[in-house]
């Protein structure tokens, strides 16, 4: 049975990926309600590499940033910046899945397509 878990960004904010990786190892697909920063993505890749084994070959991940979706005006960008400062996260979403389940994620600026 396919398991998908939606988790708030706040759970990853302090760089604690152990619960997330435990879920991924058990075959759960994770959706985070924000776009990870590049340094968070790099940290997650590093942590993933540490637990790769014969049974767990790694992850597929991809993010969508909502502010990237349209040619926003300066006013829109300023408004988005204020919203991000208040929320403390980048508006968007991140999908992370075990590589054994998600074979590929195709991204174009507006969509994510998962191949399973």
């Amino acid at each position: 049975m396919l398991r998908i878990k939606l988790i708030p960004y706040e759970k990853l904010k302090r760089g604690n990926y152990s619960d997330l990786l435990k879920d991924l190892k058990e075959g759960t697909i994770i959706i985070v309600d924000a776009k990870l920063t590049p340094s968070e993505e790099a940290d997650l890749i590093e942590e993933t590499m540490k637990i790769i084994s014969d049974r767990f070959s790694g992850i597929e991940l991809s993010s969508l940033e909502l502010t990237e979706l349209k040619d926003t005006t300066r006013m829109d960008r300023f408004r988005n910046l204020i919203i991000e400062m208040i929320l403390g996260k980048r508006r968007g979403l991140t999908i992370i899945g075990p590589a054994k389940i998600i074979r590929k994620i195709e991204k174009n600026p507006e969509e994510l397509l998962l191949y399973m």
């Binding site: 590049p38 340094s39 014969d54 597929e60 991940l61 991204k107």
Partner: protein
Amino acid sequence: MVLRHLRRIKNKFASVVRRIFRKKKDVRIGLYGPVNSGKTTLANRICMDWLGEELGKVSVIPHETREIQIKERVTVRDNGKSLTFNLVDTPGIATKIDFEDFVKFGVKRKDAKQRAKEATRGVIEAIKWLDNMDMVLVVIDSTKNPISQVNITILGNLDARNTPLLIVSNKIDLKKSDTTRIRNAFPGYEVIGVSAKTGAMMNEFYKMLLKKL
């Protein structure tokens, strides 16, 4: 949020301090990119052109480069200008490493598992070395879709560190090569198409490299 900002400030500060105190002769140029994009082939081409010797072994089997390899004091010259740097070839960055992929290339299972283990360490090393670069050549296979998470993560991390970079669209000798697709995927970055294998466009590449640093 606060932690993220502190980290970003720390990275920028460290990068500025590094550039101030490092002697010109110690300039480090790193080769980064996904697995099998041709980083070592490009490193070999640069080293052959200017030193007359290769840097590392290349292979069609993924993750051939599993350790950081450095060639010191490479001097590139063009029109009276010159630049001496240490060239750092890094293992390909990946989000997954499956030993079965190596078995498909005829590697014995035991060796494939060992190769996978070494490859995971290589990815970690490559990420850690991002902090030590004065400039990075992001090598992308121009026959493949450039909008991959690995490319996005590498570019994002270099931007966050304010590290100068040049995107190298490699394998332009192949029929499916499409450098325009890379330019469209990453507007705002300088992109040069080369074939590290045949040497096509390498003179233009060296001119751009000298302009960047």
